[in-house]
Amino acid sequence: MRYIWLIMKVTFKDGIRSRVLFGITILSVLLFAADVVITNLFSLDVGKVMIDIGFAALSLAGLSVIFFLGIGMLSQDIHNKTVYMVISRPVTRSQYIIGKFGGLTLILLVVMAILGALALVSFGVGSLLLEGSALPRNFSWPILMTTLFFHFLSLLVVLSIAFFFTIISSSMYLAMLFTFCVYFIGNSIETIVKVLVKGEFITPSRFYVILMKGISWFFPNLAAFDIKATLAYGLPQDVTYLLWTGVYGFGYSFILILLTLMVFRQKDIC
């Protein structure tokens, strides 16, 4: 446990010092500033527009952390052979992976907390400029926190996918490409299956529908974590749905980290 904590701390410090993180923060601050300007172009449901832009900025920042910082750090460790320095000490490969994952999760958490606070500031400024008319219907802080939590959970799932592909692929760019593909499919698989099942525009064969439904079991349903509409329109929250989605997200990440550990244990990195 001590070694895991140590690697976590080192990863976190490395990440915080990184220029990538600095760039991401600057970009996000600009996006939040743009949020105040853009929302002035709308006259109805302005709060919803603010939430859209704020969460888009959070997503972009989170994905940048995963793609540039997460994949970058891990693949550099492996391909520059820096990982030898760690695993030649009394640190197991599993401890290394868990520590790295924990460190990056911490960075993600800190980034989300900072940008979440910035989003709230831009939301507050926007509300002031629009004389309070920007607040969404039935707005409540617990719903906002729940939405942020599920947003973080979806990024955690993407991070575990990124770890898996970084370990199994030989190139950093391949890992980025695979992760992006899974991220994209994860966000759209639900809609694709729904369109196929409905058969409104195309009439696919039964085999194709079953195949797509089967595939959807392998890819994470990232759309399930997107509960922005609940916040933006003050819709009622289904606690059972939220609980199961939480279990689903942590479960998927756990399985992928386990698979990553299994692959990394067998991997010849010499």
Partner: protein, 276 residues
């Protein structure tokens, strides 16, 4: 180090390059000005579901962008060419599918599409049905659909059906039910339109929206006044007047009301039918 000759060549090349750049920049600017988004509009000819799949978690943001694109084009224009109407209608449909709860889209659809009349009324109703289904706490989409059935399609039965259903939504104005009941009767359409708009005026939040509704109420009151005059003219002379000015010349009206919805202030008139 560059010698004097090389420096001169470099300077000459730089001047030539700047001249070429300035020329091309001006030319590009002129071409871009012709593509001013307030003058032309285009929409991706794909089903909204395709956009939904491609946009992933940013679908709601894309919905905002699409409706903003349509708004920039529409601006304060009075007429829209048919090709642009198609593009605007597609943008509305795409935005509504991506986020079927966004009231800005719903409001714009109702404010623009059915007023083009013809095929656009049914297209607007189809889009508005998405909002009625998803904004189940809001009576306004149902009210808009009821209005379109009544005013544009002259389908009082469908209008009353939608209005009656909408009146059951909590916080819906009680007048909706009365209007629905009234629409099941024949006649009195202009009066009922004014009543519709007066309901909207009571609930409109923004001053700009109120001004627009007031403008339309004023226009409809003018229509009502002219329709009454035409009825009297018809009763007196046995045929409708050739123009609205005939109503003044025959002493039925003191003056022809000014249409606040058109720049020339005139009402549209054709064989006894008045429009604005």
């Amino acid at each position: 180090m560059l010698n004097t000759k090389d420096s001169k060549i470099c300077l000459c090349l730089l001047v030539v390059a700047i001249a070429i750049y300035a020329g091309s920049a001006l030319s590009v600017q002129r071409s871009r000005d012709r593509l001013d988004p307030t003058q032309v509009i285009s929409a991706l000819q794909v089903r909204p579901q395709v956009l939904e799949i491609l946009s992933g978690e940013f679908r709601s943001l894309l919905a905002d962008y699409l409706v903003l694109k349509a708004s920039v084009y529409l601006g304060g224009r009075y007429s829209t060419p048919d090709t642009c109407k198609k593009a605007v209608s597609i943008l509305f449909r795409q935005s509504a599918t991506l986020d079927p709860r966004f009231f800005q889209t719903c409001y714009l659809v109702q404010g623009i599409e059915p007023w083009w009349k013809g095929i656009w009324v049914k297209k607007a109703i189809t889009t508005l049905e998405l909002f009625r289904k998803h904004r189940d706490w809001d009576w306004q989409p149902g009210f808009f659909i009821g209005f379109d059935y009544f005013y544009f399609l002259k389908d009082n039965l469908s209008a009353s059906r939608v209005l009656m259903q909408t009146a059951e939504i909590p916080n819906a104005p009680p007048l909706l039910g009365l209007l629905g009941a009234r629409l099941s009767q024949q006649g009195g359409q202009t009066k009922a339109s004014i009543a519709f708009l007066e309901t909207m005026l009571d609930t409109a939040g923004k001053e700009s929206a109120k001004t627009e509704i007031k403008r339309r109420i004023e226009a409809l009151k003018g229509v009502l006044k002219l329709e009454r005059g035409i009825t009297m003219y018809r009763a007196r002379f046995g045929h409708p007047p050739d123009s609205l000015e005939c109503l003044v010349e025959s002493g039925i009206l003191k003056d022809v009301p000014v249409n606040p919805c058109r720049r020339d202030g005139r009402y549209l008139y054709n064989r006894g039918k008045v429009g604005f």
